[in-house]
Amino acid sequence: MDADISLRVNGAEHTLRVDTRTSLLDLLREHLGLTGAKKGCDHGQCGACTVLLDGRRVNACLALAVAHRGSDVVTIEGLAQDGELHPLQRAFIEHDAFQCGYCTPGQICSAVGMLREAGSRPGEAEIREGMNGNLCRCGAYANIVAAIAEVAS
């Protein structure tokens, strides 16, 4: 069954007709060609699909596109402004916070969301707990935490 969906992605309005079974992740990757968000598990367990939906970090794999008409989505492709990397993107590079890079778009989008949620400057334990929904099979966690801690300070 198809549905007409309009939403904003990285500042641009889109109107598409998609099968109701289409997840937000599939809409981004397959329909809009925004392949930054990754399908790591498709079950909300790995966080590689994390994007910002109306400012909040969510697993795009579990969000049905049809349930989020009119929403404002920001993906990893939308974080840089006027050719300038987002501070978290710069920090991930400087701190060598990725190895294969597969989880990285989700890690960065999740960190952007987390820093909006966190009250005062989160310490290491709070960062680790706050990022618990983002897995990294390469084990880059120590550097991921360092990158986030730098931006959080």
Binding site: M1, A3, D19, T20, R21, S23, D42, H43, G44, G47, T50, L53, R56, R57, V58, N59, L62, A63, L64, V66, A67, S110, G113, M114, E117, R128, E129, G130, N132, G133, N134
Partner: protein, 317 residues
């Protein structure tokens, strides 16, 4: 995934009408459990009735100092709410102990209550499961059940309810408000018995959860196999009132041990009027856990639950 129609009613009447329009209709909250189960083929709705647009998204004070929490409130908003953190910090603790921020940002209160068990056989459509297909059998009883029930299970089902929030709500004597009924959380869930396909006593649209005031020191403690992002092996929501070294009131609800959030009423009765000592706490825990019937591989949950009760009550005393 089976093709489905989608609707987003504006009010409860519209939601109920949509639900009634097809036997294959299901309510959609945040989708964090339902969409997962649909992708696994466990749930196969032909119509999703999205209830996130209903006017059930507020947290309000009730006369007398309690709270009424709309069923569409997102888990993250519930945990961050100033009134919840001030009056029921145990509830915020329990919600934050569950899932990940990404999941909590989507998940609704109503959906959290109605989430299904994570028993591996329930989630695998190639396996028999009395909950998913009544009469097909329970492979968990003699199979993989390390994280399944020690209390209240039946020969038909040994599943556990996975929610942290529901355990806190059970200890808080919360009431689930549906459109046509108000049911205490402690009476909302069923033991599996010979009808494990029914998790709850009522089916219908949850509109709110109401909490009476608490006013006691309380805590939520969760034991799990990883430091985070895991379901409970055993969890405990506890509240304790001690005056002059004697327990005046105690509330204990265990998670991870049964098909329901397990309100430990035998332990509570043993604690009332008893000296607030570790001996009393242990005796109360033992009295409650005397009815535990561990399976071959989950007997470790019995001393774990006992120690968790003793340690948490000692902290609160």
């Amino acid at each position: 995934m089976r093709p489905f129609a989608y609707g987003r009613p504006a009010d409860a009447a519209g939601a109920l009408a949509a639900l009634a329009s097809s036997p294959g209709a299901k309510l959609l909250g945040g989708g964090t459990n339902l969409v997962d189960l649909m992708r696994l083929g466990v749930e196969t709705p032909d119509l999703l009735v999205d209830v996130t647009g209903l006017p059930h998204g507020a947290i309000e004070e009730t006369p007398g100092g309690g709270l009424r929490i709309g069923a569409a409130v997102r888990n993250s908003d519930l945990a961050a709410d100033a009134l919840v953190r001030a009056r029921f910090p145990i509830l915020a603790e329990a919600v934050l102990a569950g899932a990940s921020a990404q999941l909590r940002n989507l998940a609704t209160v109503g959906g959290n209550l109605l989430q299904r068990t994570r028993c591996v056989y329930f989630q695998d459509v190639t396996k028999p499961c009395n909950k998913r297909v009544p009469g097909s059998g329970c492979p968990a009883r003699d199979g993989e059940h390390r994280n399944l029930a020690i209390l209240g299970h039946s020969e038909h089902c040994v599943a556990t309810h996975p929610s942290d929030m529901a355990v806190a709500l059970a200890a808080l004597d919360a009431v689930v408000h549906l459109t046509d009924a108000a049911i205490p959380v402690t009476g909302f869930y069923r033991l599996p018995g010979d009808e494990p396909q029914h998790d709850t006593v009522a089916r219908g649209l949850i509109v709110a959860v109401e909490l009476p005031p608490l006013g006691l020191p309380a805590a939520y403690r969760k034991v799990r196999e990883r430091a985070s992002f895991s379901f409970a092996v055993v969890s405990l929501a506890a509240a304790l009132d001690v005056a002059e070294g004697v327990v005046r009131e105690a509330r204990l609800a265990l998670g991870g041990v049964a098909h329901v959030p397990w309100r430990a009423r035998t332990a509570e009765a043993a604690l009332r009027g008893a000296p607030a000592t570790e001996e009393s706490f242990a005796a109360a825990a033992d009295a409650e856990l005397a009815e535990a019937r561990p399976l071959r591989d989950n007997a470790y949950k019995v001393p774990l639950a006992r120690n968790l009760i003793v340690r948490t009550l000692a902290e609160l005393a």
